[in-house]
Structure formats: C-alpha cells, structure tokens
Amino acid sequence: MLEFRDKTTTKALIKEIRKISPQNNIKVMHVCGTHEMTIARWGLRELLPKNIELISGPGCPVCVTSASEIDFAIKLAREKDVILTTFGDMLSVPGTDSSLSEAKSQGADARIVYGIDEATKIAAETERQVVHFSVGFETTAPSIASEILESKMLKNFSIICSHRLIPPAMDYLLSSEDIEIDGFICPGHVSTIIGYEPYGVLAEKFAKPMVVGGFEPNDILLSILMILKQIKAESPRAQNEYTRAAKKEGNVLAKKMMNDVFEICDKGWRGIGIIPNSGLRLKDEFTEHDGEKKFKVEIGKSRDLRPGCKCGEIMKGKAIPQDCPYFRKACTPENPIGACIVSSEGPCYIAYSYS
C-alpha cells in the first residue's frame, strides 16, 4: 500500500487539482470516519487550493446512534441478568445521563467484542441471555445478518438493531436547502458491500459528482480530482476510484444476507433527526432475536445533545469541532460530552488527535 502514499504522485495530483480547480468555492463532502482520518493524518486540507473545502459528514456509526438506543442498552444491562456485548467505542458513548462503561463499573455485565461471532460464541457457552448492541453501516450489517442466520437455534441470543444506511443519509443532506455540497467522496468500505450503483441514482437525482474513494492519501486526492473533472465537464455521475476493492455490484452474497434478515425502516440519527428509509430492523421471522422486543425495558425521555453541543451540526457538515464551546475544554475523549469525540472515527476525536 506504500505506493498509494508515494509523495511524487501526491505532488503530481495536487498540481493537477490546482490546474483544473475552478475560481468559485467547491465543497466536497465525505461520509466516512476513515476518510476523515486519512485527510487529517496526512494534512490533505492544507495541500488543496483554498477554495476546495473538504467537509466531514455523518460517517461515524458510533456518533449517530441515538441516545435512546444507548439508554435502552444501559437500562437493559443494569436491570436484567444479561451479558451485553458491543463494539469497543460504544461503551464510552454518552447516553442521556450515563454510558455503558459507567454501568459496567457499577456491576453491569457489558463486554467488548471485536466481531459479532465472539458474541454468539459467548451465547453458545452460557445459559444466560446474551444481547449484542449492534451498530454500523452497510460494512457491518452483513456480518450481523450472517450470524443471525447461523444462530437461529441460539435461543439466548438477540441484538439491539441500530444499523443505518449511508445513501439515504446522503440523499437527506443533498435535499437540505441549508447544506451546500458540490460533490461526494463516497465511502469505500460501505461500497465494497453495496457497490456504486446507488450513488448513480443520487448523481442523477441531484446532478452532483459521486466518486467512491479508497483510504490512502493519494486515493483521496485522485477522488477529488475526479470530482473536479466531472464538475468541469458538467457530467455528474458515479465513478469508482477504489477499484481494487469496490466492484460495481458490491458483494452480492453479503447484500442477499442483509435482505434476508433485515428490512428498511425510518431511523433517527443523533443530532440530525429522523431520516426516511435510513435504518435496518429485523424481519418478523427473526423477532426472537430482537432484543428490544424480547426485553421489556422502559426508558425515560432521552436527549441526543447537551445544550450547546455542536455534534449535530458537525454531523451535517455545517460546523467543525473547533466551533463547539465544549471541544477540548469540557469535552475530551476521556470525558466525552458529545458522541463525536469518542470513536477514533468521530470528527471531534480526529480533530482532537491531529490538530
């Protein structure tokens, strides 16, 4: 992968970008925490012409999981005799009043797993109920689907289904009158699953360039160059820069498993609001694996954002972490007030680490 970081190529790409760059301001949004990590780590914003702005969108599943879902998981882990498993970052994300790690420190059995297969292994070896708090975009959902299909016989295994879909969120942002976006770098790893045809639909609907990008610095720069070329040629469409991993049709088997297990629903995104058709829920035939239906847990009124917290605006690409009054002061990765500073893919965490 080192070739994809080759400095000579970087310089040539920057030169090409400068050559083709129009006079007016261009806003390019990405919707992937790993893209933001590459951009920040390699200082790509500073290399671009001043009128090319790279905006970070809602590309961090941990950041957009609603406080109500976290509140449910916390109360479930506190009140019922369950083993609650989840991916690492979810433990520290603040819900309305506390986090799963606080519940864990007070005795709740909350455990971090690397993949859902570790959760089903725990379930296979215990009589206790195991509930996996399952978050993630299309990159993650197929592994969950395959494990649900395999675990039909595991009566003590269920999930809190908090999966979200990226193209409906892009559609929502492009439809918002107060958010300006001239083109998207589409998320490479989501695209290894869904392919890049869904972006063709968006490119046509909104007449905006959509380029699937890889995760090395030269991938990002080439994606920007491809977007600028589309703008110049007035020919917005879906293109693929990440050809070594993302295929036009994506991963057909993975998509089938997702379709077999999940159905699409409206979903609330933390700090943004409800986005139509942007969530996944288990189909009726898998109800016994639906943790929210299996366990009756009443939660109070939840709150996604503390007053003054800019996470919602940051997720929509309307603010940057430095605009938030809490950033680096009251809100740090060790003591998070908002969700965006918890995950290594959260924009505030990345800004905290690299600026």
Binding site: M1, E3, F4, D6, T8, T9, A12, L13, K15, E16, K19, C32, G33, T34, G59, C60, P61, V62, F87, D89, Y114, G115, I116, D117, E118, V135, G136, F137, T139, T140, P142, S143, S146, E150, P187, H189, V190, T192, I193, N218, L222, L225, E241, T243, R244, A245, A246, K247, N251, L253, A254, M257, S343, E345
Partner: protein
C-alpha cells in the same frame, strides 16, 4: 467502525481463515467471501472478510497514476 484492513489468506479452516495483516495473524470468518483461496488478499472488518482485494486492479491504479504523473 467502518475501518477495514487488507490481509493475506494463509490457511482456510471451514468458515474461518487464518489471515496475515503484515505480521499479525488471526482467524477471521469468511462466510461473506466463501470463494477466497490461500494467497488471496481480503478486506477484514469486525472479524469478517467482507471483500476480496483485486491485486491486478491495484496495479492498474498505480499505472493510471503514473500516467497522471507523466502528463504533468
């Protein structure tokens, strides 16, 4: 969360494969990419191989960049 890391398949063990992340080795589930063979490169996310990497395509990308380079 959407981080996926390339790894080389070293050994197939039913639903799992032993993969090598450039030194670090671990078992990952290959049910989403059942056709992978020893020597293939896969993208691994949350303990699952989610897609095969296309080495030929990677080489072609580099050649494409060479062209950009030589044109400037």
């Amino acid at each position: 969360m959407c981080l996926a890391i390339p790894a080389e398949v070293k050994k197939i063990k039913g639903e799992y494969a032993l993969v090598d992340f450039g030194g670090l080795k671990r078992d990952v589930k290959i049910v989403l990419t059942p056709e992978v063979k020893v020597g293939d490169y896969v993208l691994v996310h949350a303990g699952f191989s989610i897609q095969e990497m296309d080495i030929e395509e990677a080489k072609e990308s580099l050649e494409l960049w060479e062209q950009i380079l030589s044109a400037t």
